[in-house]
């Protein structure tokens, strides 16, 4: 490498003038800019572009799933209603659950990680930008596939966990369940790619000085959840894509008792994924809460180590709970006791976290802005869901409440209280960073109160309905059951939730175009993501920030230390060592590329085609090969040398 291609050496401890920063930024703007227009949109590999479209798409899925929920509540608002027939109702509740779990809740949490983890660790991009784009497009193919199928009256209709033998070839002929099985394939691929991306970004692209004990708690939550995805998603891949898919398409017998298959195997393998899935949604939401609480309490969080350990412990226990979904099956009593105990124990780390936040608020000066309101709403709502969860952990109670509306009430309290409320808080908190504009506070408070009231009015009566014996997944009921009044109340609550979401939408659209300009750090928060402009430039940071504490913007009172020396004539990121985050090498980041989209379409053809003919699988895979070659070719032809090889390392390893 010649010296002219490197940035001129700056003496250490030099304060950069605004002109020097602007000059560097102009050079980086040229190298990191995406391609213009629609082609640029298709080829984007910037983690913020991908994160934004993930957020928008997942929110669209929240709306779609919500509209389906509104249809269900309208059908159930009075006895023997005729808005939806039984067949359509089956499709609607299945697609509602599938959308909310697979297309909204998990991807929206990973989307937050994709957008914010690189910013929070001080990196210029995510570790594998083209894989990240491929993951989004794969997810998008799944979204289109599910909703086209629903509109074409081929929507899956066996519930979001598709129990066999109902979902097997004998009881569900046709392609409805195939749609479900392949949709799961798309979302699991997208989630796994995002998880590996986040793990490697956290381990290898942290800002120098950001040792693991200085990692922001948001990032800790994303890291722990990424590991959970890596070990949970393969279970549903094995179950739905392979076992169920093969049983349905090539007559294998994994779940066919007549040929030695076992229907309970499906429940084991599905819930080994499905229970951690709940925590995959819940833990990132807990990650949102700490920076919100810290910022609005104006105090560093109480119990950093306890919060990290609670995260890890929750993740560990989450893999030991799956059998509590199967208490109504012939599980040995010892096994039932073990899983009951585990289901109760997991409440302890969650309780520790809630007490840490309460202590932080208690010791600080709480400022009741909208993000903090949603955190308080979370604590109130989630505790109710947690208590009904402890009730369901008891085998005797579970057998009474199994498959009733009590379970529907519990899971919505947990997911809306534990997942969606912190998520809305996070939207209000980080919207200014993404768009450069503030959300309106008055509309935000209206949204908050409508949402909290709506959630409780909708789901609290369902506890009672469940205890009275109303089964879940019924399309209607008789007037003589006496369930009409509470169902009407629940439906009015659902309409209140819908109204609150409309208020949020209006707020978001209005603010995006004409909201108050935010500035780099409108909340005076402490994380590295607030050290750059709002919205951040394509390269995130002009110079690589150096981290000297857990709260870099609060603890560095005068100047932010940075490193210089990354090249400005090619996209370069700094890779650091895994544990101590010492600078290690300069990695060339890939340019925008169409191949991720091409490969996702090939993947779509392979898996969707596989429902109809094995030959289409072969065609899809054959078309994949040029895409893989294209990716490699692009890496070679876009490379801007010369290389700076670490010869001593290479030679030492071959000595």
């Amino acid at each position: 490498m010649t010296s002219s291609q490197r940035e001129p050496m700056l003496p250490a401890e030099t304060t950069l003038s605004e002109e020097e920063v602007a000059r560097e930024a102009a050079a980086l703007d040229r190298v990191w800019a995406g391609r213009p227009g629609f082609w640029g949109w298709l080829t984007a590999v910037d983690h913020k572009s991908i994160g934004k479209r993930y957020l928008v798409t997942t929110f669209a899925m929240f709306l779609a799933g919500g509209i389906l929920a509104a249809f269900m509540r309208t059908q159930l608002m009075r006895p023997e209603n005729t808005v939806l027939g039984p067949d359509r109702y089956n499709q609607v509740f299945t697609v509602h659950g599938t959308t909310m779990m697979f297309l909204f809740a998990v991807p929206v949490m990973t989307a937050m990680g994709i957008y914010f983890v690189p910013l929070m660790v001080g990196a210029r991009n995510i570790a594998f930008p083209r894989a990240n784009a491929f993951g989004y497009w794969t997810y998008f193919v799944g979204v289109v596939f599910l909703y086209v199928s629903l509109i074409a009256n081929t929507g899956p209709d066996t519930g979001w966990f598709a129990y066999v033998p109902l979902s097997g070839p004998q009881y569900s002929p046709g392609h409805r369940v195939d749609v479900w099985a392949q949709l799961v394939t798309f979302t699991e691929i997208a989630a796994l790619i995002a998880a590996v991306n986040v793990i490697v970004t956290v381990f290898k692209l942290r800002s120098p000085g950001m040792s693991l004990n200085r990692l922001p708690l948001f990032v800790w939550a994303q890291l722990v959840v990424s590991f959970m995805i890596v070990f949970a998603m393969p279970a549903v891949a094995a179950g739905s894509t392979l076992m169920l898919g093969l049983d349905r398409t090539v007559n294998s017998h994994w779940f066919n008792p007549a040929e030695g298959g076992d229907a309970l195997l499906w429940q084991h393998i599905f819930w080994f994924f499905g229970h951690p899935e709940v925590y995959i949604i819940f833990l990132p939401a807990l990650g949102f809460i700490t920076p919100i609480v810290e910022t609005f309490a104006r105090r560093k969080v109480f119990g950093y180590t306890a919060l990290v350990m609670s995260n890890i412990t929750t993740a560990f226990f989450a893999f030991g709970l799956w059998v509590h979904h199967m208490f109504a099956t012939p599980i040995p009593e010892l096994g039932q006791s073990l899983f009951t105990a585990a289901s109760m124990v997991i409440a302890i780390p969650t309780g520790v976290q809630i007490f840490c936040w309460l202590a932080t608020l208690w010791a600080g000066r709480a400022e009741l802005r909208v993000p903090l309101l949603f955190v308080l709403g979370f604590i109130f709502t989630f505790v109710i869901g947690g208590i009904s969860g402890v009730m369901l952990a008891s085998v005797a109670f579970d057998k009474q409440a199994h498959d009733t509306f009590f379970v529907v009430a519990h899971l919505h309290y947990v997911l809306l209280g534990g997942g969606v409320m912190p998520l809305f808080g996070a939207f209000y908190f980080w919207f200014p960073k993404i768009t450069g504009r503030m959300l309106d506070e008055t509309l935000g408070k209206l949204h908050f109160w409508l949402f909290v009231i709506g959630v409780n009015v909708t789901f609290f009566p369902m506890h009672v309905l469940g205890l009275e014996g109303m089964p879940r997944r019924v399309y209607t009921y008789l007037a003589s059951t006496g369930w009409g009044s509470l169902n009407l109340v629940a439906t009015l609550g659902a309409y209140t939730i819908a109204l609150s979401v409309i208020v949020f939408l209006v707020n978001a659209i209005r603010s995006w175009w004409g909201g108050e300009v935010a500035g780099a750090n409108p909340w005076n928060s402490s994380g590295l993501e607030w050290a750059t402009t709002s919205p951040p430039p394509p390269y995130n940071f002009v110079h690589v920030p150096v981290t000297t504490s857990r709260h870099p913007l609060w603890d560095t009172t005068v100047e932010l230390p940075v490193l210089s020396g990354l090249r400005t004539d090619r996209r370069e990121v700094l890779v650091t060592t895994t544990f101590d985050a010492r600078p290690d090498y300069r990695h060339e980041d890939p340019a925008p590329s169409i191949w991720p989209l091409y490969l996702a379409l090939c993947m779509g053809l392979t898996f969707i085609g596989g429902i109809f003919s094995p030959y289409l699988v072969v065609v899809g895979l054959a078309l994949t090969l040029p895409g893989l070659f294209g990716l490699a070719w692009q890496s070679i032809t876009n490379h801007r040398g010369p290389d700076h090889v670490d010869a001593p390392q290479a030679l030492a390893e071959t000595a």
């Binding site: 401890e13 490697v200 890596v230 940075v562 290690d584 490699a632």
Partner: protein, 202 residues
């Protein structure tokens, strides 16, 4: 925004490194964990189904043959030599030797994948015969997709090395390609023991 103070310069750091320092090595490791865990879950499911049968394989289903699978296992062990030599040559940036060993590596990986076809039939059952056949075919079939990926990666890399002069990072990729192949071989050993040898024992 706060003013910035330069605390150091990273211009002298290398731009190409090997092994656990490299991002691509971590991506490869991620794939290994995901694929290895998926295979492990399938093997556990195979053993779970075993509980439902009085004999294994089920009555009137013959044991798997061992000749072809054992031959392929030996081939896999042998293939680690060109894998190792191509990685070693890549670390030395010795293009001639990288090309030579990649050709040998490609030939043997393709051969192993072709032999896999007979290895599947050496199970002596079909996927639609019974649950035992379904489980055995699914496990071996999933491992075959790993082999297919290895073929695409190794042959593609070999072609690139012959088409043009490559940047240093492709030498890192050559090293990681071998790393992934070691995994494909290592993960096959327990599968071979459980699916092909196991029915004679349990």
């Amino acid at each position: 925004m706060k003013p910035l103070r330069v605390a150091g310069n990273v211009a002298e750091l290398p731009s190409t490194v090997f092994g656990a320092r490299s991002l691509m090595w971590w991506a490869t490791l991620g794939m290994m964990v995901i694929e290895g865990w998926t295979l492990a879950l399938l093997v556990v499911s195979y053993l779970y189904l075993r509980q439902d049968f009085a004999s294994w394989p089920p009555l009137r289903t013959p044991h798997p043959s061992l000749v072809v699978p054992t031959t392929n296992l030996v081939l896999m062990f042998v293939s680690c030599v060109p894998a190792y030599m191509s990685a070693r040559s890549a670390k030395q940036f010795d293009t001639v030797r990288v090309r030579r060993w990649l050709v040998v590596f490609s030939i043997i990986v393709v051969a192993i994948t072709v032999v896999r076809w007979w290895e599947l039939w050496a199970l002596n059952t079909r996927w639609d015969t019974n649950a035992y056949g379904s489980a055995a075919w699914t496990i071996v079939g999933l491992h075959t997709t790993l082999l297919a990926l290895d073929v695409a990666d190794t042959v593609g890399l070999t072609l690139l090395f012959f088409i043009r002069e490559l940047p240093a990072k492709m030498y890192t990729d050559t090293n990681d390609n071998s790393f992934y192949w070691y995994f494909s071989v290592a993960v096959w050993i327990p599968i071979y023991l459980i699916v092909y040898v196991g029915p004679r024992i349990f």
